[in-house]
């Protein structure tokens, strides 16, 4: 039973990832990406690591949506682009994402409410035996793996500096070219 659910979820992950790559429209691609993230988080749930699943939804689906909103805010250019977007939005284009999402939802509902009790017992024996709590993760991260936290902080720092330097560069060059045009 659980295997079927896993296979379905994995298929959804793969299909939506493929669609995210092949979609021409950025918005559609992002929506497929969100579906991928949701499916991956369901896989985490099936594996019994609920914390990772929650993080997956909060960080990836959440952060990506926020980024998406930022980008559209920055690229928003008034009536013309609105009309363009209106033109772009059809129910028919979102139907695949919708179908994939609804399959995921049905699976989740099935696991929660409709699964026969013996499969649930199977789950609890096979999967949930060493349930990893948030506390354990924190203890590991600030115990033997504390240096990894430092390294990842430095990694983010270097990425941040790179991004700022390159984008600032482009901005200053633009100003210069505008001045020369004037």
């Amino acid at each position: 039973m659980l295997e079927t659910i896993f296979i379905m979820t994995a298929t959804i992950t793969l299909i939506s990832a493929l669609l995210a790559i092949t979609a021409h429209n950025v918005v559609h691609a992002l929506l497929y990406l969100v579906v991928t993230m949701l499916a991956i988080s369901l896989i985490f749930f099936i594996l019994g690591s609920s914390f990772a699943a929650a993080l997956q939804i909060i960080v990836y689906a959440g952060a990506i949506m926020v980024l998406f909103i930022f980008v559209t805010m920055m690229l928003h250019q008034g009536e013309k682009s609105l009309a363009q977007e209106r033109h772009l939005f059809h129910f028919s284009t979102s139907i695949t994402a919708f179908v994939l999402c609804s399959i995921l939802f049905c699976e989740l509902a099935f696991i929660l409410f409709l699964a026969p009790s013996e499969t649930l017992n199977d789950i609890s024996i096979a999967q949930l035996a060493p349930a990893i709590t948030v506390k354990q993760i924190g203890q590991q991260l600030y115990g033997p793996y504390s240096l990894l936290v430092v390294i990842s902080a430095l990694m983010l720092l270097s990425a941040l500096i790179t991004a700022i330097h390159i984008s600032k560069n482009a901005a200053s060059i633009e100003i210069k070219t505008e001045e020369s045009n004037l």
């Binding site: 270097s158 500096i161 390159i166 560069n169």
Partner: protein, 475 residues
């Protein structure tokens, strides 16, 4: 806190100090000074740590070899750093961030060299490659630099994805991400052998990308050409050194030579890197592309070291000997390469062989240094490069790797052609007398050139001092 962490911490604090300095005052000299002091302190600390007892933690392992390699890494970075100030003055950018990213990528290299765990290795790799993206695309207005930056970003992301996939499959089998766990042959073989082979090949793919070995070498020439010069020097030395060390450690710790397929893959990659690298270099006119192709070939030669660790028929002393050969080759090649790049930094406007023609008659000292370095890369006797190649051939003969050995000899002869072409270009009669007037030789560059000649020729004539030192470390 373990003493062995201090050099990395010093480098990290150097980077953070530059960050704090940036809040208050933008001064290139101060950033140069801070980075120099932190590199010097780290170097001294590493020298002091050379005699410390080895220790292994969850994430890192420290022994005589790793501290020697860290020392080598810091020395190379220091040599590159010495050229940084004058070179950065020619750029039309903010300069302080370069030092920051420079130190961060050095830190990434240091982490990788000492890593004993897939997570620390991966984080170090990412720290290094993310900093490299910044260093490559530093001159953002330059189209070529932009292209190179995007290329490196995407390709290193793909390489990291491959490595992650491989590590995940290995985790499934061994139940731990630690490198030492790779040794344990678990009683319950969870995965079939082909899955483990797949994982190993995934990891190889990622690492070969970084080392620009043959199936994954297409990016390297564009990158060397497009990136700022100092960044190319860092890419050719720091990045490749630390990735190769990780590759070597994985192969030895995991005893991956037990699989015939892996040996085949390694020999095919080694042979094809030697040939393709050298053949691509043959008619190349651009100096940086030429060096890029030669670095493909040189890492092809170095892969022979991995083939040597054949556990079926060997004693412990031979293993030590192989390790010595690897370290010797790395020292020889990397110092030569740093020398070549520092010459290139001294002649920043010369990009092709034609522009180089006649340099000998105008700036003889620079030209002589470059000639000696080219001879060392080609492996002519009395240079450091010859000794390295000599040891490599000796080891290959003792293990009877005839196929790879033949490839090494033939491709070295092919490679000789383009190294000699550079020298020919140098001693051609110049057409235009005034064209080298922009090259100003200051005392700093001169002393660096003398140091490089001393290293390349001195260790080439008296290799025993270096090899004894390395013997002491591995013994």
């Amino acid at each position: 806190m373990n003493v062995h962490f201090y050099p990395s911490f010093i480098v990290m604090f150097g980077a953070l100090f530059i960050l704090i300095q940036l809040c208050f005052v933008r001064s290139q000299f101060l950033a140069y000074f801070i980075s120099g002091i932190s590199l010097l302190l780290a170097l001294l600390m590493q020298l002091f740590l050379q005699n410390q007892t080895s220790s292994t933690e969850t994430l890192f392992t420290f022994n005589a070899q790793t501290s020697f390699i860290s020392l080598l890494l810091l020395m190379i970075v220091g040599l590159i750093w010495a050229q940084l100030y004058n070179w950065l003055k020619t750029l039309n950018e903010h300069k302080e961030e370069y030092y920051l990213l420079f130190l961060l990528s050095t830190l990434g290299g240091l982490i990788m060299v000492a890593s004993n765990h897939f997570s620390s290795f991966f984080m170090g790799l990412e720290l290094m490659s993310l900093s490299f993206v910044g260093l490559i695309a530093y001159c953002g207005h330059d189209k070529k630099a932009q292209e190179a930056g995007i290329k490196y970003l995407i390709l290193s992301a793909i390489a990291s994805a491959f490595i992650l996939m491989g590590a995940a499959i290995l985790y499934l089998q061994f139940g731990s991400l630690s490198f030492t766990a790779l040794l344990h042959i678990t009683s319950t073989q969870l995965l079939p052998a082909w899955a483990i082979l797949c994982a190993i090949i995934f990891i190889f793919t990622g690492l070969f990308f970084k080392l620009s070995l043959v199936p994954c070498h297409l990016w390297v020439a564009d990158l060397f050409e497009g990136a700022p010069l100092v960044t190319s020097a860092m890419l050719a030395t720091l990045s490749k050194l630390s990735v190769f060390i990780v590759l070597w450690r994985l192969v030895t710790l995991g005893n991956w030579q037990q699989y015939q397929l892996i040996i085949d893959v390694l020999s095919i990659v080694a042979v094809s890197s030697m040939f393709i690298g050298n053949c691509l270099g043959l008619l190349q006119k651009n100096l940086l592309r030429l060096i890029a192709y030669s670095s493909i070939a040189h890492f092809g030669y170095l892969l022979i070291v991995l083939l040597l660790i054949n556990n079926h028929s060997m004693t412990f002393s031979i293993q030590n000997f192989n390790e010595q050969i690897m370290l010797f080759y790395l020292v020889a090649y990397l110092f030569t390469l740093v020398g070549v790049f520092s010459i290139f930094i001294q002649i920043p406007k010369i990009k092709t062989l034609d522009e180089l023609s006649g340099l000998f008659w105008q700036k003889p000292f620079i030209a002589i240094t470059l000639m000696l370095l080219m001879l060392s890369l080609a492996g002519i006797p009395l240079t450091l490069g010859f000794m390295a190649k000599f040891y490599l051939v000796m080891a290959a003969v003792s293990q009877q790797l005839w196929l790879v050995l033949a490839a090494l000899v033939i491709s070295s002869i092919i490679g000789m052609f383009y190294y000699l072409r550079v020298i020919m270009a140098l001693i051609k009669t110049p057409t235009d007398k005034a064209k080298f007037n922009h090259i100003n030789v200051d005392g700093n560059a001169l002393s660096l050139n003398i140091l490089i000649i001393f290293l390349v020729i001195g260790f080439g004539i008296f290799p025993s001092s270096l090899s004894q030192f390395i013997q002491q470390i591995t013994g």
